[in-house]
Amino acid sequence: MSTNAEFGLIEASPPPEASQLGIVVWARKNLFNSVLNAVITVVMLAVLAAVAVGFSSFLFADERRWDAVTVNMRLLMVEGYPQDHMLRIWLSVGIIFALIGLTTAAWNAGGKLAPDSIQRMLIGAGSLVAALAVFGRPDAWVWMTVAGAVLIGIALVWRSSLGKKNIDKTIPTLGFLGGVIALILLVTWLLPVAMTTKVPWTVVFAALVGFYLVGRVLAGAVNNRTFRVVVLGLWVASFPYIYLVLQRRVDLDTDVMLTFVMPAAFLVLGGALIWAQLTKFSRDTAGVVTSVLVALSVASLIIPVAWDGWLELPVLGPLIGRVLLFALTAFAAGGRTFASGEGGARNVLVGWAGSVIAIAYLGTVVRGATDLGTFNAVYGGLNLTMLLSVTAIAASFPIGVMMALARTSKMPIFRLLSTGYIETIRGVPLITVLFFATRVLPRFMPPELAIDPVVAVAAGMMFFSAAYLAENVRGGLQSIPKGQTEAAQAVGMSTFLTTALITLPQALRTVIPALVGQVIALFKDTSLVTIIGLADFLHVARSIIPSQPDFLGVLMEPILFAALVYWLFTFTFSRASQRLEQKLGVGDR
């Protein structure tokens, strides 16, 4: 290896003609460059081959029951979701794929593939299929061998037909992937493959491609920044819509209506009050207003306790009203420290509108009646796993960031509360939190406020994850030099602006790797909900399928399938975050 360096030669990259033999050259240089290395290579290859043979003969042994997975696919994906309503599930999948299409278009994501790497992939896939044919069932090995040979043939013929001129031409990875998927779908239509979901999958794939194309057109037509913000907004709105509305169809009754009217009133009148508080009132008037609001909030806590009849009222409306009153008090009291100048008042108002909408939205749909039954009855399988992890991750983010800010703030009371919260949560296992949320908490609540176990679990995971996230973010905040804050203050930024524009963005950038680790862990930890009796993805694979009369005791196959799916998700996620890191130049700037 070092001979080149010893003779002071510069290693030249091989000319393009040689790349046909690239693998051989590479192997000779890296694997067989000395006797010892050659021996090690041969031994390792033998070990790898033995493992591969063992594993594939396991995968394809006659007694393997892969039909336990294929037959139960729906169960794995959505568990007991009402069959007549499967269209809603497909609509959800369609929405997500359409958004993926729009997103790739908006960010123009995806790299390029050189012909050589495509050729290598095709040859690899062909050899794999042909090799696996050895272990195939009697009815399958013929066409597996043929398929493998065809793949390798395509690779060789296509590559040599390119000629020297086109060798450097690259193909977009996305286009290539799209082509492959389209091909697979085409095969399922042409061959008599028994696949009950090929119609919806074809439509979903068409949605992906269609929205990608629409996205490309839009990206050219409108301001790119605006387009990206809209796409991000659609992502944020999509999951609540899918899980709270589309898959549950909330009915509007009086209880729910009340929770619409009241937030609307709070939004307008409260907004006006905050505006006046920030820009019109003198300090003294503002103080009086704040005091009155604090008194009202306290009274709203005491009155229901003192007055027995309150439970007969529609419960949710007044409850949301009280939460909104607390929020208004917080904004009226704290607005001044956050706002600076007119822009500041505007930002506080935007924050207020967001809070009201979030409170109303959550309050309304979390408890709203539905014609499909409770969350617990509706959600299961991979669908439940997605619901729990998306909710917990998305919701724990703002809470965790706020906790981190509170713990580093100058106000002792914020510091105390947040430290207490973080240390308490971090001191107990997730299971304890989940048990507490589903078993203990309901005993302290009036029956009218009974929370569905799925909601309770999602909330429990959210609070659990928030504590860890807060510590990660706090680490990031502490790594920001003091000079940054001083420079921001020196140009007149308020504490709020300094945090939002200067310290927090830098802190979040530095902790991306830690956050990704946490998200991946949380995604897998959702499988713990099986212990409190929810039928998530792993639960279906681990307990439900092996206890079906047809597949009694068949455990290995569904578990392996589950492992593959978990891996696919986490792998995609960590790749995506690597790209994000590159894009933000983490470590470079």
Binding site: R336, T337, S340, G341, E342, G343, P481, G483, Q484, E486, A487, A488, Q489, A490, V491, G492, M493, S494, L497, L501, I502, P505, Q506, R509, G585, D588, R589
Partner: protein
């Protein structure tokens, strides 16, 4: 040359760090358009004093009045003052996650409430003025120290400050970059900007300053024109300091 309007008034300003008395009663006034250079040995409280003027540090006794507003703990007063007083730090303190241009437009849009196009135009004007318009879309980490410090000056100027504070703006720079920053500061002084500059660059003090303050042990020991200072210093401590530094 300086007008008669007093823009900074310090009246018996005192400050302690615990038991340690950093500022022992500073009284001085700065007139509009005046360039005041502060010199003195290390640890004499120069940085502390200049940082009190935009309240990055708080004084405990005495009064500081900037542009008619007294600095108190009222948050709104402090923010109002800070947007009128620009500050340039020894270690630049540019925002590393923003481009050069964004560094200069950020406070304009969020604090001054300017439209983005307006802020952009202003940023490019200022980059032109400090001589590095071609660096607008780079990140601070990609610039040399001298270029970074010029961006920091442009960032402060973007707020249209009435006063500029400099705390040893050239101390962290390699010798060949010091001149380019000093040139920008000289140009600024010529256009009539009110400036308070802590520096060890005696050439700059001699050429640009209207008045020099000599700090020692948290006090103004001697005060006068550069000519007075460099030809005829009165106090022994001043003489000692100048003999060591020149």
């Amino acid at each position: 040359m300086p007008s008669d309007t007093e823009i900074i008034v310090c009246d018996d300003v005192k400050k302690w760090y615990g038991d340690f008395n950093v500022l022992r009663g500073i009284t001085t006034t700065v007139k509009e358009g005046e360039v005041v250079v502060i010199i003195g040995p290390s640890g004499s409280g120069k940085s502390t004093f200049i940082r009190c003027i935009n309240r990055l540090e708080t004084h405990q006794e005495g009064r500081i009045i900037v542009d008619g507003i007294e600095l108190t703990s009222d948050v709104r007063n402090v923010e109002a003052i800070r947007s009128e007083v620009g500050m340039v730090f020894q270690s630049f303190n540019l925002f590393p996650h923003l481009t050069v241009k964004q560094n200069i437009t950020m406070a304009q849009t969020w604090v001054r409430g300017r439209r983005k196009s307006e802020a952009d135009t202003k940023a490019m004007e200022l980059l032109e003025r400090v001589g590095i318009p071609e660096q607008a879309d780079k990140y601070p980490g990609q610039l040399s120290g001298g270029q970074q410090q010029r961006v920091a000056i442009a960032r402060a100027l973007a707020m249209d400050p009435k006063v500029m504070l400099f705390d040893e703006p050239t101390s962290a720079l390699d010798p060949e970059m010091i001149k380019e920053v000093l040139d920008v500061m000289k140009e600024l002084a010529r256009t009539g900007m009110t400036m308070m500059v802590v520096t060890h660059e005696m050439g700059f003090a001699r050429e640009v300053a209207d008045r020099v303050l000599f700090f020692d042990f948290g006090q103004v020991v001697e005060e006068g024109t550069p000519e007075h200072f460099f030809t005829n210093p009165q106090h022994d401590r001043t003489k000692l300091f100048l003999s060591q530094i020149l």
